[in-house]
């Protein structure tokens, strides 16, 4: 089984979000970048397939040279090799197109991506990738077992879950729940040393178009001061929620 894990390189969850160039660019100064948490769950599951079922696991990012430390981290966690498509990510469709080219040429059976990236929040790359590849697709995937060419997946739905069966080639959009939190791996010294020797192949992008463009960013308006209510005066809280906020 050949697995490709899509890795989005995103600001650490504690990052302050600011913009430069007249609010058109994300301000990366002082920002730590990490593997998108949803992709980390996917990568961890891929490691399980590698260790238990002999899968090979490659990781991929579409982005500039600044994303390489994130790919190296994925190698240190245990991926066999990494691919960086050398072009800035501009929109979901453009990223999906680049990924589709590599996925197709590499004849991957299973492509694991995150349900959503923490920065762009598109929730679109895995689905678009599946459609471009004519592959099967399971989104919000919280369980995956593979037997030969057949896969059984669990998908989170609003208010419950669903079990699905399908086959390769398969793309999943995954999230928390695919593996236990305690199974996530922190790269150890040996992993980091090995990662330095593993291949990180830089490939040039294919020609593609974009469908959307971000014209400007905006920060949420600062909020008004909180109203504190005395713990002995909960009637007042109910009154405010009913008459002022009008939410009950």
């Amino acid at each position: 089984m050949k697995i490709l894990v899509c890795i989005s390189h995103v600001p650490d969850t504690t990052s302050k979000i600011n913009f430069t160039d007249n609010n058109t660019k994300f301000d990366t100064s002082g920002v730590q970048f990490v593997i998108n948490p949803n992709d980390e769950f996917g990568l961890t599951r891929a490691m399980w397939f590698k260790e238990k079922q002999g899968a090979t696991v490659d990781v991929i990012n579409v982005g500039g040279p600044e994303t390489e430390p994130t790919l190296r981290k994925a190698l240190a966690i245990g991926a066999d090799s990494a691919i960086r498509v050398n072009t800035p990510a501009t929109d979901g469709f453009q990223v999906a197109k680049q990924l589709a080219k590599i996925a197709k040429d590499g004849e991957y059976d299973l492509i694991i991506a995150g349900r959503e990236s923490l920065d762009y929040n598109g929730g679109m790359v895995p689905g678009m990738l599946a459609a471009l590849l004519n592959a099967n697709f399971v989104n919000t995937c919280i369980g995956l077992e593979v037997e030969g060419e057949k896969a059984t997946a669990i998908r989170e739905i609003d208010g419950g879950k669903e079990t699905l069966t399908t086959s390769f080639p398969l793309v999943i959009g995954t999230q928390k729940g695919l593996v236990e939190e305690s199974d996530l791996r922190i790269p150890n010294m040996r992993g980091i040393m090995q990662a330095r020797k593993k291949p990180l192949n830089v490939v040039e992008p294919v020609e593609t178009t974009t469908q959307t463009s971000i014209e400007k960013f905006e920060k949420p308006a600062p909020r008004g001061a909180i109203k504190l209510i005395d713990a002995d005066n909960l009637d007042e809280l109910i009154n405010l929620l009913h008459n002022e906020a009008k939410v009950i």
Binding site: A131, N136, G159, I214, E218, K227
Partner: protein, 322 residues
């Protein structure tokens, strides 16, 4: 030219998010000077959509589409959009809509903007405002393609009544074998339970509640308010509550009208995921907890005393206002 909207229903009843996307589609149609066509699956009675400005309903009756199936539904929506000559397709951000939208985008060669929170700011160029960086910012995004797909953030627009005809028509799309290559073999879903995605009110508990055995009072409060239950990340990591209740930047997003946080400190990752809620109430015994800087109303004190009291008072209030 009609604006196409996918309206989800469950056991014949439209979801609130469906009425919201219909309301939104109506106002988009007014901007574009056209009508609204809703697509429904296996609904016998779509007349409710009349009140939200839907002009025409294309209903698909097909047993094979009894369970949601993303590939097949995307194929149907594509054919419906072609039939109507739609340039704008609107969906909610329910789990199913988020699943189908990117597939549809590729099939229609359409640009897709998810998590949209406002009416288009202009029609030409077609500009929408969407959330980015998990609610820490917004982006003004331009869709350049001829056909545009909008995923409307749940609860960002609200329901707006508008009279339409909702003239129903049966629509028979052509389905292929390939549409069913992902098969649902089991659905495990709690009936009559309010989900976080659809809830007006969400009651959420954190590590301050000390253990799963103390959730009874949280459930009582939620039941009194008709609210969905949620929790902070450590609470689900420790197995006190199911993962499906974990909200925040790495959990589910919350965009309810009212979010009540009990024994939750208000870490940046938690706040990012719940910030889109309109009104936030925090109950915490530490006046320095960061959540007090992010909420609208706060009570400083012991949750074990406050929550049962609040529930009692709410019951009285409900009885009086029923």
């Amino acid at each position: 030219m009609s604006v196409l909207v996918y309206t989800e229903s469950e056991e014949g009843k439209f979801k609130k998010a469906s009425l919201e996307v219909a309301s939104y589609a109506k106002e988009v149609a007014q901007i574009l000077q056209t009508t609204v066509t809703a697509v429904t699956f296996n609904t016998k009675d779509a007349s409710e959509l009349k009140n939200y400005g839907v002009d025409k309903v294309l209903n698909i009756t097909n047993e094979k589409l009894g369970n949601f199936n993303a590939e097949a539904y995307a194929d149907v929506l594509k054919q419906a959009a072609e039939k109507e000559g739609s340039k704008v397709v609107i969906l909610s951000q329910s789990a199913n809509s988020k699943y189908v939208a990117p597939l549809l985008a590729v099939h229609l060669n359409a640009g897709y903007a998810s998590n949209v929170v406002n009416l288009p700011e202009s029609a030409d160029p077609f500009m929408v405002k969407r959330t980015a960086f998990t609610n820490k910012a917004f982006s003004h995004t331009k869709i350049d393609t001829d056909i545009k797909i909008i995923g409307l953030s749940n609860n960002s627009f609200g329901l707006r009544e508008n009279q339409g005809n909702a003239t129903a028509e049966e629509f028979t799309p052509t389905l292929s074998e390939a549409d069913f290559s992902v098969k649902v073999i089991n659905v495990d879903k709690a009936k009559d339970k309010v989900t976080i995605a659809d809830a007006d009110i969400v009651v959420s508990g954190g590590r301050g509640l000390k253990g799963p055995e103390n959730w009874g009072m949280i459930e009582d409060l939620a039941e009194t308010l008709g609210a969905a239950l949620a929790c902070s990340k450590p609470v689900s990591d420790m197995g006190w509550r199911p993962h499906s209740e974990h909200v925040g930047q790495t959990g589910k997003p919350v965009a309810s009208n009212l979010y009540i946080a009990i024994g939750i400190s208000g870490a940046i990752q938690h706040l990012a995921g719940v910030n889109a809620s309109k009104v936030k109430v925090v109950i915490n015994n530490d006046p320095e907890a960061p959540f007090f800087k992010a909420a609208d109303y706060g009570v400083v004190g012991d949750a074990f005393e406050i929550v049962p009291k609040l529930t009692e008072k709410l019951k009285e209030f409900k009885a009086k206002n029923a």
